[in-house]
Amino acid sequence: MEQLLRSQEAPALDKSRPVAYFPVRHHSPACAYHLKRAIEAYEPDCILIEGPENAQELTEVLAHPDTRAPVALYYFYRDAKGLLGEEKEDYKCYYPFLDCSPELVALREARKRSIPARFMDLPYGEILLGTAENTGVRREGEKQTYNDDYLLSRGKFLKRICEKAGLRSFDELWEKYFEIRGLYLDTEAFIRQMLTYCGLSRENSPREELLREGCILRERYMAEQIARASREHRRVLAVTGGFHTPGLLELLKLEKSREGSYLVYTGEPVELHRLTGEEQGVYPLAYSMEAADALNGYASGMPSPGFYQRVWEGLCEQEEPKGAYGRAVLEQLVRTGRQARQKKEAISSYDAICALSMARGLAVLRGKEEPGLYELQDAALSSFVKGECTLSTDMPLRILQGLNRGRQVGKLVEDALRPPILHDFERQCGKFGLKIQAATQQEITLELFAKKKHLAASRFLYQLEFLDTGFAKRKKGADLLNRRDKSRIREVWTYRFSSQVLSALVDVSMAGGTVEEAAKSQMNSRSLKSASSREAARLLTQGFLMGFLEEQNRLGGKLGQVLAADGDFFSLTEAFSHMRMLYELQELYQVNAFSELRELLGSCFQKIIQLLPSMGQVDKEKEQTCMESCLSLYQITGKRDFLKLRPILAEAFGRLLETGKVCPGLEGAVLGLLYGYEAGWEERIFKAASGYLRSAGEQQLNSAAFLRGLFYTARDLVFVRKRFLYLIDELLGDLEPEAFLGLLPELRRAFSYFTPLEIDRLAGQAAALHGVGKEKLLSGLVVSPLEYEFGEKLDAYAGKRMEEWI
């Protein structure tokens, strides 16, 4: 490997040349360090940087002293004309910058020197259009980034180098030969070494593949830009991913004229599609180290950005680059030890000393000038983990991992171009007192119905939740979506600000200028997709929680259509329950949609009535849901606004019973409801109950299910009609003991609908039938308080003694 890297002569930073090339790997401190030196040595008049050129206006924002890395450029492209496929999808990608990103260093240096710095790559949309499906930036299943370092780290060639050099991965190879050794080389030698490696990896990449990935097209465009700049400026510095440098050199020819030398582009000119600002755009974003970590699915970054940030800080602080890695390793070990001690882990200073000597020893053994990330991790594993490495002992490793990842969150200069939705988000957060300066988790309690502002804050948080920003999560409070805890009047939310929230908001920024607008438009588009009334009603509930008054109408129209098309009884009844809940809560939540909801409930009701008579033979596991639906229908028809519907419901119940084949539970429940509607059904109930109880075999088992259904809807029958109690008592008394025991579990369930007081009363009455007083039913031994106290003491003593044994 060493020989290989020293083997090629390369263009120097010769000031007489019109263009100097600086090959980089993204986020590499060594590249950034040498780039700084190269700029000092070459003194360019203009710096061209690999990056989609439609972000040109944002270079000022990125290089501004008030902007704090990590930041990212967020590119989007909307395939409105279907140039990429019939689906007309949206595409997006990130281009992150850390302090140690050479591109950001180039921008900052250019600003310092007051020379122009320009992005020279194709605009993002054009890159997409020049890339074949499922290759390059259009690869599926990955978090899309603009960086293309993957070009350097693939291929059999690399695998063989790693095997031969005894290294685990490309990242370790890179660190050994370019990061650590790179700091021991002068800038010229470093560039030469980069070019050799990049040249080799390029030789090992088939040209067809590069064409498919759009790589060649981009290089043609960049070469054109370099040639153009070399006409305008005396010395141009081109900063590109190392893989492209050999490609660019091929496309450019040196020409000399009286004024001096310049470069001429020798390839075919690149033709651009005319994409509008609507179709593609770019925004700057505050980013986070966490998001930039390669281990978090960010495919093209270096892993552990926090560690390399330390190295970079060391390089900025000290004149001498040598030793920067060793110092960073020591610092991370010390910090890990300190944090571990705070978490009550027994890591001593001596452990840190052993770890450092391990890291240094490994570096010597592995032929590295200084220990790096891999030696740091190995040292912590060896010296900090006590005992077998398991979840209970690897806390120090997790702490180190966190430190190596870094916690910094970036910040953009005040007047940076940002989508309006971000301003709205920040303004609203400010208004509701939500803290977004800290990256730690926060909590807020909202008194929904006492303070108007709290209700508004709750709506805002629901909107953010609906937009999948991952910002806030409701911890306590009414869960209307699942129809649980409806009576809670307080909500507790936890929330945490991160760059992911911002990027999620930018993702939806085209849907609206404010969080509310974006949520509304998302809701509309989702409502168009909802296929069942269950889904549509859930969406309606979400809209209700987000406080979209005027939207309810439109949504209602859509829901009406869905209801008409839905033939699923359960989906309809669930929708009905949702709407009913909203109808009841609207006053409380200060949403006024009486007329729309009434209408919707009416049509849903009709639909259910149609389906109800066919529900007699419902599956056993759905029987309970069906019973609940019937009760819910009955209850709502008791409300003043829906009283007219009750006879219709009773008629439908009647039709259901007439079918003759009704599950016993449902039959009991429906009969109970009908009894509530009209006392005349009493006889029918007696008949059915005695029928069930007097039958044989399996039918007898059904009797308990029948009673359960009956008690579910009309348990008062037992109290109001003594006759019923006699009947049950008599029938139960006639049962064989075995049959009774078989029935018992189901009977227990049936009686569980009664309150404890009612059971007590019922038991008293039943006991009276057999001439026994109520008080004798539950009589037990009375224990004196003194005895009880002694017993407790004895128990505690015995427990303590047994603990000693164990």
Partner: protein, 371 residues
């Protein structure tokens, strides 16, 4: 006199040529009293791409420890430092082999070993007396019987402590002061009773974590060691390679001239891998047996089958016999493990037989030996 053939010669004898060549050609810096530099130790364990040329001979250095290279490097550096090395992990993960290889390379001997048991006493760790000499001459160095730890300190070589967690915790703790002060007191010898450890001394301990009857280590002792957790091999191809290498070496030592059947080795490696992980390569979820499914066990299952084929059969691996040996290896703890193995055959092996046919089919047919 007839030469005694050892069943298992120590590592330094088995690889004597490699070790000599590595020492002779070693140009790296050696820690004091080490027989070779850390780089050469690494080469001895992890192999070299090119054979060594020494005294006109080509000496290939094969990779002896397959698995985690970084772990080997950490072990070497630990041994050059102030702390002892403790290899922990499930049984059969080649901890002992690793410690033997390290000792042979660093100190030239792998036999300076304490074998820990529940009956290990403090004098077995430190020193004891030859009572005849003690009575005759009184407490003099001559009458003292040094333990491997004593020898290690005296000569500046590594002491291996096998199965350290099998010894009672208070006995383990007698190592604490020796490891931190690097000095052993022998009060009986009076003024001469201080043994200072010579450079090059260190301790390699091995400890099982899953076995029954192991004791916890005190945290004071833990602090004197760097721990390395040796994980079971997670890669089927690598496990297959280990089986082949080990069986070949065993066959050579025992003069069994029969080639290793790579397909059978792969079959066995997949079986062990899938039963250990609880999921098959085709995605079946299977119950893991309670017995330890180590690669060392797989090697012994293969080797037993091979011997049966060599002595009683036609020198071809018989899958029926393999299954019988597999039952012996798996069914150690309880009857349920056999049921688990059976259900593995009835799901995974059956489906693989259906899909891949060939050897897997014959393997499935051999299920009748599962009893």
């Amino acid at each position: 006199m007839e030469r005694v053939v050892e069943i298992k010669p120590p590592v330094e004898v088995r690889y004597a040529r490699e070790l000599r060549a590595l020492r002779a050609l070693d140009t790296g810096k050696r820690p004091r009293n080490w027989k070779m530099s850390p780089q050469a130790v690494r080469t001895f364990l992890l192999g070299s791409h090119k054979p060594l040329i020494w005294e006109g001979e080509e000496i290939p250095v094969r990779k002896k420890y397959l698995g985690n290279d970084a772990l080997v490097e950490r072990c070497i550096i630990t041994l050059a430092g102030n702390r002892g090395l403790m290899l922990v992990g499930e049984p059969g993960t080649a901890k002992t082999m690793l410690s033997e290889l390290l000792s042979a390379a660093i100190s030239g001997t792998s036999t300076n070993t304490i074998q820990g048991t529940a009956g290990t006493t403090e004098d077995m760790i430190k020193y004891s007396w030859n009572y005849a000499l003690l009575l005759a001459k009184g407490p003099v160095r001559e009458a003292l019987v040094p333990s491997p730890l004593y020898v290690g300190m005296e000569q500046g070589i590594l002491t291996r402590f096998e199965e350290i967690t099998r010894t009672p915790a208070e006995i383990q703790d007698s190592l604490i002061s020796v490891l931190s002060d690097k000095v052993l007191h022998v009060p009986e010898l009076g003024e001469e009773g201080l043994l200072f450890a010579k450079a090059g001394f260190n301790v390699i301990g091995t400890a099982n974590t899953r076995d029954k009857g192991v004791n916890e280590m005190s945290s004071a002792l833990k602090r004197r060691f760097n721990f390395e957790t040796v994980m079971p091999v997670r890669d089927v191809a690598l496990e297959k390679q280990i089986i082949i290498n080990e069986v070949e070496a065993l066959a050579l030592e025992n003069q069994i001239s029969m080639p290793v059947d790579e397909d059978v080795a792969e079959l066995l490696a997949s079986t062990y891998h899938e039963l250990r992980e609880g999921v098959s390569s085709m995605g079946h979820r299977i119950d893991k047996p309670n017995a330890v499914m180590s690669t060392a066990e797989a090697v012994s299952v293969y080797y037993q089958t091979m011997m049966t084929a060599y002595y009683y059969g036609d020198s071809r691996m018989d899958l029926g016999c393999l299954v019988e040996n597999l039952v012996g290896a798996v069914q150690k703890e309880n009857q349920e493990d056999l049921e688990r193995l059976r259900s593995y055959f009835q799901t995974v092996v059956r489906d693989k037989g259906g899909k891949e046919g060939g050897l897997w089919n014959s393997y499935y047919e051999a299920r009748k030996h599962l009893r």
